[in-house]
């Protein structure tokens, strides 16, 4: 509890804004999933569809192909459905 005279005015900090772009990297949405994608890189034809269609941008594109960031992946399964060569399979999340 605080008397109104003793509230400390904090200037710009008291304005409801977020100035740190992209700081949701600290939010661990990967904890929500029940399935996780596994990738067979030797089948990959480098079409980039899994990377484009992932709603949370969990895939990073490298020269070898897609790499999934399991920190963000929510396990929706779009990548498994859209892969034209069936290189991605959703398996049940352990734990």
């Amino acid at each position: 509890m605080i008397e109104e005279e003793n509230i400390r005015y904090e200037g710009n900090k008291g304005v409801p804004l977020i100035r740190e772009a992209g700081n949701a990297v600290k939010v661990h949405t990967g904890l929500w999933r029940t399935k996780r994608p596994t990738i067979e890189l030797d089948k990959c034809i480098k079409c980039k569809l899994c990377y484009l269609y992932c709603p949370v941008t969990a895939y990073r594109w490298t020269k070898k192909g897609p790499v999934c960031d399991y920190y963000f992946c929510k396990g929706c399964g779009i990548c498994e459905e859209e892969c034209p060569v069936k290189a991605i399979t959703m398996v049940k999340e352990e734990k």
Binding site: R8, Y9, G11, N12, G14, V15
Partner: protein, 385 residues
């Protein structure tokens, strides 16, 4: 230079002198002349701003919020029904801490529909977090609006301001007014350079974010309250600077003939000029009465009101507004300032002037007689004049 024009033109002059950059607008009686004057000046190249006619008053304030969030200086004007339509956005503008300045030509609220002035629309803004000022004549309209930009943009405030001028009584009545020089206003009011809210591709910013954590939400609301409390000191400082430059003095309240007074009329807006004539007459006849004009309604000047009124025998709060089921709106707020004082006057409420009903010097004398009766009976009453 000394000019002769209406209150609406005075408000338009203030926007021009303050170099407002974005003016979204929507017509409504009695403020339409403000936006027409600005449109003509822009067409003639006398002013440099972006004038934008919008599809409703709600869109007017939304566009004002967008432009102010991007970092532009914004001015707009509205009245009664328009102010109520944008009511939702008033909270958003103050919550996002955007220093928008708005002119309100007070007009009674529908239903029943009227065009004539009363203060119900102006006072409906009192919980929104906006700074509220009520002018008594056209000179004060111009001066208050120019000062409002400086007060709102002060880094210890960062709140939007509403300056009220009574519809028809001030908005359409011509009075001699001194228009300050542009160079003087430029020195007084530098360009708006926000550090808290702007859009820059190199420094992306998320404004209007959802705050679902109650502790964070309470923190922001407390900061808003503190900004309002800071505004009291900022208003007095800015009025002091304005006095040095122009000789015209304004404050949070105005005391008129309060020396040695036993009773006082408490009033807002343009009816105070009629009330001042009544006070002068009554003083000549020996009645020890004074007048306290509440110029700034938010932040509410509690200490100044208590200091001015607590030693009196009786106070008549004349409200040009009505909260149905309660009485006048300012009346309980005035009483609240006096509650903790050791000596307290009798406070009576007089609801006068609704829907443009004219107030006369004779009526103020009747109000004073009724107050004398209340002082004798030792109880305050609520009366309709």
């Amino acid at each position: 230079m000394r000019e002769f024009f209406t209150g609406n033109e005075a408000a338009a002059w203030a926007a021009r002198l303050a170099r407002a950059q974005y003016i979204p607008c929507y017509p409504i009686t009695p403020q339409t002349e403000i936006i027409e004057t600005l449109a003509q000046w822009l067409a003639d190249g006398l002013m440099d701003a972006d004038f934008c006619s919008m599809d409703s008053e709600h869109s007017v304030l939304s566009a004002a919020i967008g432009a102010s969030a991007a970092g532009a200086r914004v001015f707009t004007a509205t009245s009664s029904q328009g102010l109520e339509l944008m009511h939702e956005m008033l909270y958003i503008a103050s919550g996002l801490r955007l220093p928008i300045v708005m002119a309100n030509c007070s007009r009674g609220l529908s239903a029943p529909i009227t065009l004539l002035p009363d203060h119900n629309d102006y006072l409906s803004v009192r919980d929104t977090g906006w700074i509220m000022m009520n002018a008594q004549n056209n000179q004060e309209v111009l001066d208050s609006m120019v000062m409002a930009f400086k007060i709102s943009e002060d880094k210890n405030v960062l709140l939007p301001s509403l300056v009220n001028l009574d519809g028809f009584i001030l908005s359409y009545t011509m009075e001699p007014t001194i228009v300050p020089e542009q160079s003087m206003v430029d020195k007084f009011l530098p360009p708006y350079r926000p550090t808290h809210a702007f859009f820059d591709p190199e420094r992306p910013m998320v404004q209007g974010v959802a705050v679902l954590n109650p502790d964070d939400y309470t923190y922001f609301r407390k900061q808003l309250h503190k900004a309002q409390l800071n505004a009291k000191e900022v208003i007095e400082r800015v009025c002091g600077e304005w006095k040095k430059l122009t000789g015209r003095h304004y404050g949070l309240v105005e005391e008129f003939m309060m020396e040695g007074a036993d009773m006082a009329l408490v009033i807002q807006g343009s009816i105070s000029t009629t009330a001042k004539e009544a006070v002068k007459d009554m003083r000549k006849k020996g009645t020890k009465i004074g007048l306290l004009r509440i110029r700034v309604f938010r932040p509410f000047p509690k200490q100044e009101i208590a200091k001015s009124l607590s030693k009196l025998d009786g106070v008549a709060v004349v409200d040009k507004n009505l909260a149905p089921g309660l009485g006048g709106i300012a009346h309980p707020e005035i009483k609240e300032c006096l509650y903790d004082a050791k000596e307290r006057p009798i406070v009576s409420s007089f609801v006068a002037g609704l829907g443009g009903k004219p107030e006369s010097v004779k009526q103020f004398a009747e109000i004073t007689d009724a107050l004398k009766k209340d002082i004798k009976d030792k109880r305050g009453r609520i009366r309709f004049v």
